[in-house]
Amino acid sequence: MVEETTGTTWVRIQEGPLSVEEASKFLRVESAGAVNIFLGITRRWTRGRETVLLQYECYEAMALAEMVRLLEDASVRWPIERSCLLHRVGEVPAREISVIVGVSTAHRDAAYAASRFLIDELKTHVPIWKKERYADGESVWVEGSRPGNTTQT
């Protein structure tokens, strides 16, 4: 488990189940009127194929650094009271939580916008990969997003 927290931001990468209650407690401060918690969970069916679990792998040090940068970025764009990004790695069976994106703000507009931004950016830039294990035993790396638009050459 790796973790980085300031007074108002919290990033963690861990194996084992994530706690929505823990995230909620962190986010619910007096200055916030709105708390938005997004959960990414393992979906069981994709195009008629049954998923048993998703297996997550990450470049831990950089994933942590990127997630910290993301929360800082979001705090510049919106008036965020508290925010958290919690990601699970290892095996995540169907219906279990792989990621918690949490934001609390004074009013809800910012909470919705920031939450959407954070999950979209996480899925585009953070060095985490997942492999889908199907009921028939086959495992396939999920097609991902290439971080950034700048070309290498």
Binding site: R146, T150, T151
Partner: protein, 89 residues
């Protein structure tokens, strides 16, 4: 006798997910006696490792935990990572 490893002249290149599986290594060591650009490093690695060549432009490179561009100079002691398209969340 094989040449001794000299970390003062080397950079580590970390591999993940598909690249790691296809190459069978999670880390490569490259000689970087004088700094070389990321572009050139990828060129060298593409020559030696077909899966890297095949991944081509889908690879983003990070050096010391930050994404960099093709003209970034890699020097001895750097931690380089080849980041294939990500799928977190």
């Amino acid at each position: 006798m094989p040449p001794t490893k000299n970390p003062d002249r080397q950079a580590r290149v970390l591999l993940f997910s598909m690249l790691r599986e296809e190459i069978g290594r999670s880390e490569l060591i490259v000689d970087v006696e004088t700094p070389i650009s990321v572009r050139e490093l990828l060129g060298r690695l593409s020559t030696s490792y077909p899966p890297i060549r095949k991944a081509g432009g889908s690879i983003r490179v990070a050096v010391n935990l930050e994404y960099v561009r093709g003209d970034h100079a890699v020097k001895a002691g750097d931690e380089v990572a080849l980041i294939t398209p990500v799928s977190g969340g």
